[in-house]
Assembly symmetry: C2
Homo-oligomer: 477 residues x 2
């Protein structure tokens, strides 16, 4: 472990982010530019995210499958907007088994096209609908500026792809999965998110409408944390996904897609972390409780270690780890597990053993305020309660932070200032030119058009024209 | 559903295999030659395989991570045998983001090289050892002759990669994971396997020694179902994976790798299936129990369906499905679920309701012999017992089949005949020429050198030279 101090978030948020990831061993740079190795501790967070989402997908009637990594180049060209959006980002296989391929193969940047091709083959009648399939997969987009978790050439995600009889069912599915993402973000990751519609310029290449959940990071920038697309009949027409309806007439399906990626690990790091490192929400933390035994000599060790082991057993309902490493001091271990964001630390030394007590230290409340001494009896119950409390406290803190950094400027000058350090809520007329002006003047973009604020009309904060949509302007990752 | 009869296994085992996979909706051909779509029912089997293996990996101290899809071409060239083995099978990305790449990227056929590169970076001291990492991933090998699950361009697998202080620890790990595979195959998949060492000509490109588990399929061919490689210091030297030992001296690590793939789904299909279709082992079956309600009119339906629903609830500890589809006859459903290999079927009609009983039908015992009428009370317990019984019966049947088709020929003529319809156990002198002769004369190869038979020396069945190894000769997938 690197023993230099982390840069503070104030000093350099970006450098803080990079160093936390590497020092906490979440991920590392791969030898290929822009690619990432997700190390065991980082992957364990992703596995917990997968479990929480997969359960929600299954509860809403979805099943998993696996579609191929390689897509014929011609498939992407079938949907005009889709290929325009993805063409600059493609990785292309031109050689296979020592031969130059007749048709180059694209390494999937997303799978609408190849899945559309299969759905056209599988779907015959309204009886086959809806088709509700998800896949957990790796995808590749040739990004120029990359950052661990946030934007890498290869990343991991789930992509849901569904086909429906009617436009209404497609829209319901699109919003249902947006709700699933928001529920996951809020209740599993303790990351408060705003659900809304993306502007035309920010929507998915090939979608009718894209919806997103947006979260505020610790430097007040926004992070798009999950998206759900109503694809209308774009891909159904491009790939001939048709079904015989109840009147025996051939109709095109209505399709959707929705995805959440390892980018979300970045959201967790940046929404909750502090100058000491990560703070992981208990529900997703690979280690929820770490036990650090404290002793100065063999005699103390003989008194302390067996009790520490007993506590480890008593807490087996949690993801618990006893840190019995010999070559490190307790102080070093405290720092190490703080860096790694373990929500709760249990310290136990000879005096605690004598009192039949332990010291509990909350990661989310640094220093003495976060420490309580508590009897060993009934410890498991207390730990369970505290983990619930920490989970709730993280959500509350992130929500408070977002609210404290969200303003409603009344004119364009105010907007320009507001987006330098936070989110600005303001009316927008819907004109892409106004949107582009803000981007040019401030680097902020329209994150989404939140559901909860619609209905109040006003004047566009940029051009003054009548506006029905109130939107979030913010710099973003 | 296709209503034509399946070809029997006798008529055409290969065609039986292809049709079962497609009709039971396990997998389908992707638009790219040799690639596969694993459909939800097939993927659910793989997910159950993943759970069973992953639990065993974690119990033996392993953690999961994710390494990149793309590997610089130069990496593969660092280990001479490795590149010789894999060069003809590579898929190569030459274009990224619209530009021709300076160094082509290989789509990983396996990850020893890139993982070796990272281990060299991460491992400093003996304190960092052992490193015990697994990844669940897709890999690509440009195969010419492909078959669903058995040999596809892209396939899914897990690959474990470990690094150790000593040769002995590396060997222990290699054998430990072979044991894990055998335990999984026998106790989860009900597929009896033989553990043994591969001959030099059949070992992994870059390994010191390769071990395998080999299973007999329903046509008596062998299927290599999992492999574990002792890599010695080959990759440690090629990638400079070094550590400071307890005397502060720099040493090369000893590494291993081991993998089991979606090929195993093919093993399950071919080890257990019959002329009616799949027979899935209860522990891995996506649906363990299917309930088919039987009624002729609305009145009967009103009597039967609520009871069927009550039974579904009562069996919620199992993976249970109530097939309430309206547009199909019970007979059609029976065939459909038989094709899909569901281990246990519950039939319930008006007469059963009147008796407060149901009819249970075992998939592994066709016809009347597999049927029993049983009271609804205590059904869950009976179902649990029966699933255990079916699991054991499948293992017994596959073991009996293997034994019935394994012979010990006494001369070369006998060997040539024996491998036409089964496995032959015989002594082999260790000379690759003898091995090559058998392959040329019979198409059979040495599957492995089983642990359990060593120690008896004799004469090579091909050349008559003294031989210590007794081996399995067989045609193989």
């Amino acid at each position: 472990m690197n023993i230099e101090k982390l840069p503070t978030q104030q000093e350099n948020f970006s450098e803080w982010y990079n160093q936390v990831i590497q020092r906490a061993e979440l991920a590392d740079y791969a030898p290929v530019r822009g690619c990432m190795v997700v190390r065991p501790y980082g992957w364990a967070i992703w596995e917990n995210i997968q479990k929480a989402l997969d359960q929600r997908f299954k509860e809403t009637g979805h099943v998993n499958a696996a579609f191929p990594l390689f897509i014929p180049m011609s498939f992407l060209e079938k949907e005009k907007e889709h290929i325009e959006g993805f063409a600059p980002e493609l990785a292309i296989v031109t050689i296979g088994g020592g031969q130059t391929l007749e048709e180059p193969l694209v390494v999937r940047p997303t799978s609408e096209t190849v899945i559309g091709h299969m759905y056209a083959k599988w779907i015959k009648s309204y009886r086959d609908l809806p088709v509700l399939i998800n896949q957990w997969a790796n995808v590749v987009r040739w990004e120029m500026r990359t950052r661990l978790f946030l934007r890498t050439l290869e990343f991991y995600w789930q992509e849901g792809h569904t086909a429906h009889e009617t436009a209404q069912e497609g829209q319901e599915e699109t919003l249902r999965m947006l709700d699933v993402y928001a529920d996951f973000a809020i209740n599993e990751a303790a990351v408060p998110v705003v659900k809304g519609r993306k502007s035309e310029s920010e929507k998915f290449a090939g979608a009718d409408t894209t919806y997103s959940i947006e979260a505020m990071m610790g430097d007040t920038r926004a992070l798009q944390s999950g998206t759900s697309h109503n694809l209308g009949q774009h891909f159904a027409k491009a790939f001939n996904i048709q079904y015989l309806d109840r009147n025996n007439e051939l109709q095109y399906c209505w399709t959707t897609s929705w995805g959440l990626s390892t980018r979300f690990v970045g959201a967790i790091i940046m929404a909750h972390g502090d100058d000491q490192g990560l703070i992981l929400p208990p529900r997703l933390a690979p280690i929820q409780v770490v036990i650090v035994p404290i002793y100065k000599n063999d005699e103390e060790k003989a008194a302390v270690l067996p009790v520490a082991e007993k506590i480890e057993k008593a807490l087996s309902a949690f993801r618990v780890k006893l840190d019995a490493r010999e070559e490190m001091t307790p102080g070093f271990k405290f720092n190490d597990w703080e860096l790694r964001g373990v929500p709760l630390r249990i310290e136990i030394g000879p005096k605690d053993v004598a009192k039949e007590a332990v010291m509990l230290a909350r990661r989310d409340i640094p220093g003495r305020d976060g420490k309580i001494s508590i009897g060993i009896e009934g410890l498991a119950e207390k730990v369970g309660d505290l983990l619930v409390e920490i989970q709730a406290a993280l959500l509350q803190r992130a929500t408070d932070f977002r609210e404290a950094h969200t303003t409603t400027p009344s004119d364009y000058a105010g907007l320009q200032e507001a987006v330098q350090n936070g989110w600005a809520l303001a009316h927008w007329c819907g004109n892409p030119e106004c949107e582009a002006n803000v981007k040019e003047d401030t680097k902020a973009t329209i994150r989404n058009i939140p559901f909860e604020m619609q209905g109040e009309s006003g004047k566009c904060i940029i051009c003054g024209a009548p506006a029905t949509d109130k939107v979030i302007f913010s710099k973003a990752y």
